[in-house]
Structure formats: structure tokens, C-alpha cells
């Protein structure tokens, strides 16, 4: 069994690739912007930030990590995928969620999806950084 190692001409050092991942997680699209994939980075930045802000506007909830409630903990993990947006909203007191609001579930869907999509973007940034794409 052979192991394929990155051989792309623009492959970065593992430590730098890891840093790209952290930056990509913290700010959606920032990893691609760093890697000079500007168009991609801007699409991710605009689309994922808009999804997160819309989720808050629709009175969605930023879920806390409650291990006693596994589904809530999973939703929290997904929310955390939005990186700095998650921490910023939490620090500013947004994302309390209004269960009685008609748009509550829509808001949660936008928030959770934004986080999960950003995790896919982080993986794509890593693949680009190590020369696989």
C-alpha cells in the first residue's frame, strides 16, 4: 500500500498549512484569500457571513455545549464551525434564540449550516495549502 504525499508545486509546510486552517476556520474564506484564491475566498466570506447574520436576525440560537443533551451539543459543535463569528456573537450577547418566534427553526438552520459549510471550506483550504488541488 502506497501513501500519496502532496507533490503540488505550491505545497506549503505542514505548520503553515495548519495555520491556514486556523485562519480559514476563524474567518470564513480567509484561508483562500491567503492562498491567493481571491474569488473563492470572497464568495465564502460573503455567503457564510450572510448565512450567520441571517440566522441571528431570524432569532436563531447559538447553542451551548450541554453534554447532557447530545443533540444540543451536536448543534453547538456545528455552530462553532463559524469561528470568530460564533465567539463574536456570543460575546456581544446575540444568539439567545426566541423559541416562540416563527422563524426560530429557520434561524437555527442558517446558523448550523453556516458552521458546517465553513468546516468544508477549511478542508478545501487545507487541500489547497498542501498542493492537492
Amino acid at each position: 500500500m502506497t501513501v500519496q504525499r502532496p507533490t503540488g508545486p505550491r505545497a506549503l509546510e505542514p505548520a503553515t498549512a495548519a495555520l491556514v486552517c486556523v485562519i480559514a476556520w476563524l474567518v470564513p474564506g480567509a484561508g483562500h484569500l491567503w492562498l491567493r484564491r481571491s474569488e473563492r475566498g470572497l464568495v465564502f466570506l460573503v455567503a457564510l457571513s450572510a448565512m450567520f447574520v441571517l440566522g441571528l436576525t431570524l432569532e436563531g440560537r447559538i447553542f451551548p455545549f450541554e453534554l447532557s443533551q447530545p443533540l444540543v451539543a451536536l448543534a453547538a459543535a456545528a455552530d462553532l464551525g463559524s469561528g470568530a463569528l460564533y465567539f463574536g456573537a456570543w460575546a456581544l450577547g446575540y444568539g439567545a434564540g426566541t423559541v416562540a418566534a416563527p422563524s426560530y427553526e429557520y434561524g437555527n438552520t442558517f446558523l448550523i449550516t453556516a458552521g458546517l459549510l465553513n468546516l468544508l471550506v477549511v478542508i478545501d483550504a487545507f487541500d489547497t495549502a498542501v498542493g492537492r488541488k
Binding site: E39, R40, A47, L48, M51, T57, Y106, T113, L117, V121
Partner: protein
Amino acid sequence: MQSHLLLLIVFAALVSAVFAVLQRERPRDQVRLGLLLFAAFVGTALVAGWLMFPFPLGAR
């Protein structure tokens, strides 16, 4: 923003854009995949909505 249809369309547009840019390299291919995904999202939701139309809204 209370319109379910508008929220569906906004959600489909944003998710389709991200998926298309992730999955395709060339801008032309990205646009094509994005439009296909968007149509699939909205079309599937509308069909599923009409299929559920005869169901009762709740126990009475």
C-alpha cells in the same frame, strides 16, 4: 422576514453558491453547478410541500 418561500430561496442560493465554488474550478462550471443545485433545492422543496399538502395540520 416571515415568508417561508423567500427564506427557502435565500438559503438555497447561498448553499448552492458555496457548494458550486467548492466543487468546480472554472467559473463557467461553477455557475452551471450552482444553478443546477439551486433548481434542485427549490424544486425538491416545492414538490415535497405539495406532496404534504393533503396531510392534516395537527391532531384535533
